[in-house]
Structures are given as C-alpha cells and as structure tokens.
C-alpha cells in the first residue's frame, strides 16, 4: 500500500514563503505575493516628531522595506513555524516564533546586541493563482522592544 502525502496548495505557498523568509530572500518573498498584495503589520509603528508611520500598505511598498530592514538589523533572524491552519478559501493562519540578535538599529531601538524571541500570528490570503494577496502579522512589539533593551514607548 502506498500512502501519498498531499500538501494543500495553500499550505505549500505558505511554506515556500517562510522558507524564503528563513533564507532572508526578500525578492522571493515578494515574488510569492501578488503584485498588488496588501501588507499589514499593526504593531509596527514608527513615531516621528511630525508624523506617525504605520506598517500598512502594499507588500511591494512598505512590506519590502520592512522585511529588508528586519533582515539587516537582525542578520540571524529565524522563524520557527508552530502551526499552520488553512481553509478551502485560501486563508491561512500561521503561529510562529521569530527570534534574532540585533546588529543594527531597528525602529526606535538602538542596537545593543541583545536577542529576542517572540510569538507571532500571521494571517495570509492565497489567491487563485497561488500567490499571496494579503499578509498581516500580530505580535507584542512591546515585549520585543523590552528584550532588545528599549523601554521607551516611542
């Protein structure tokens, strides 16, 4: 008897995305997304003197900038997938832990050489052509900042 393990196309796209994430391959991460894919990281806010920048927009805009910046600031940034849940409509929820050591400034956090490890929840929508059409992530950025030695809110 042959048992064939068939991974759903949705889970396959999600796995490929996080494989690229693990390799810090921003170009491939972007390539796995639709050209107009939405990007939403609500915890990530950059507060300036005159304006507040939120990480909400498009993958090919703010998303690419955020990912490139993260990999630059955390050269050993690593993702460990805990669980992937999907549905037939192409939606996926991914529980994962991100961890890394800071080597360059990130947001309002100066580089003190400290490490973090934080649980994340990624929400992803895969379109009919097996590319991501939206990607959101939720985590406690306050905990990340504290682990990095940054205790000011802004």
């Amino acid at each position: 008897m042959t048992i064939e393990m068939v991974e759903s196309p949705i889970a396959s796209v999600v796995s490929r995305f996080f494989d690229a994430f693990q390799r810090h391959d921003v170009d491939e991460m972007v390539e796995l997304c639709d050209w107009n894919a939405d990007f939403n990281y609500p915890p990530l806010e950059f507060i300036g003197v005159q304006r507040q920048l939120k990480a909400i927009g498009k993958v090919r805009g703010v998303g690419k900038i955020v990912w490139s910046g993260m990999f630059h600031s955390f050269p050993n940034l690593s993702v460990t997938i805990e669980q992937i849940s999907t549905n037939p409509e192409g939606f996926a929820a991914v529980e994962a832990t991100l961890s890394g050591t800071q080597n360059a400034p990130w947001g309002m956090c100066d580089a003190l050489g400290r490490s973090f490890s934080e649980d994340h929840l990624f929400l992803m929508q895969v379109g009919p052509d097996n590319r991501l059409t939206s990607l959101s992530a939720y985590w406690n950025d306050g905990s990340v900042c504290r682990q990095l030695g940054h205790y000011e809110v802004d």
């Binding site: 939606f91 529980e95 934080e118 649980d119 939720y138 406690n140 306050g142 900042c145 809110v153």
Partner: protein
C-alpha cells in the same frame, strides 16, 4: 441556523465588550488552553480565561469590538480579527481616561460547543502609546499587570 462555532465566537465577543468573563465561562472548562503573549499568559482553565478577559488591556471601559473578519479554519479553529475600542486610564497616575483603539487577532478552537483554545495577540506598545505612557514598564507598574 447558527452553529456552535458562530455562537461561541459571538459569546466571546460579548464577553470582551461587557468586561464580564461570566459571559463566556459556560463555554470553557479546565482543558481550555489560553495563550496571550502580551500578558505572558500561557495557561489553561476557567481562571486563565478570567485572567485574559479581566486584564486591563481587554477590560476597557465602554469596550467595543469592531470585527474586521472572522475566518473558519480546519480542525474547528477560527480567526477573529478585530479592533478593540474603549476608554483606558492608568488609575495609579490619576490620569484622564483616553479613547484607545488596539488591533487584535485571536485564534480560537471550538469543540462540541466549548472553547478548547484561545490564543490572543495584540501589541502592548500600541495601547501604551495611545495612553500617553513614556515607558512600557511604567504602564505595567501603574496598571498592575503587563500589557
């Protein structure tokens, strides 16, 4: 006809908005796993659910959930993505209550009409920033809990 999953989600949201964990306690038992990284909470049982729903960042005055989306997933799991609005004050500092809006995503699992898992994600800095706190540690001291 409303299924168990929809009913449980509806009651959970009502529990958040009412600030009363009692609204949802009939749907939980000792096996209910509760995780909330922003609280450092990783426990199970009715008390864990009470801790989650009665913590300062959730039990806002005049709390209201603006549900962005509810998605059903495999194995009886669902995602509820919402913005929690309400009034928040750090009482120990005698501060004036401010209106806050914090983005949430909760992964829940329903089995036979009971909640078997709640994984609640939000960012403590988002709340602290809107509450006018200068440091995250200051907010924790004032609120008596980690947000």
């Amino acid at each position: 006809m409303i299924g168990n999953r929809e009913r449980v989600i509806d009651e959970l949201i009502k529990g958040i908005e009412s600030g009363s964990p009692d609204a949802i306690t009939p749907r939980v038992n000792s096996a209910t796993v509760v995780r909330a990284p922003a609280l450092g909470l990783d426990s199970s049982g009715v008390e864990a659910v009470r801790t989650l729903l009665s913590c300062d960042p959730i039990a806002l005055s005049e709390a209201h959930c603006e549900v962005n989306q509810v998605r059903e997933l495999s194995e009886s799991r669902s995602i509820v993505e919402f913005a929690l609005r309400g009034s928040y004050s750090t009482d120990a500092a005698h501060s004036i209550p401010v209106d806050v809006r914090v983005d949430h995503a909760w992964l829940i699992k329903e089995e036979a009409g009971l909640l078997s898992q709640i994984s609640a994600y939000w960012c403590s800095n988002q709340l602290a920033r809107q509450a006018g706190s200068r440091t995250t540690s200051a907010v924790e001291i004032m609120s008596g809990s980690s947000i």
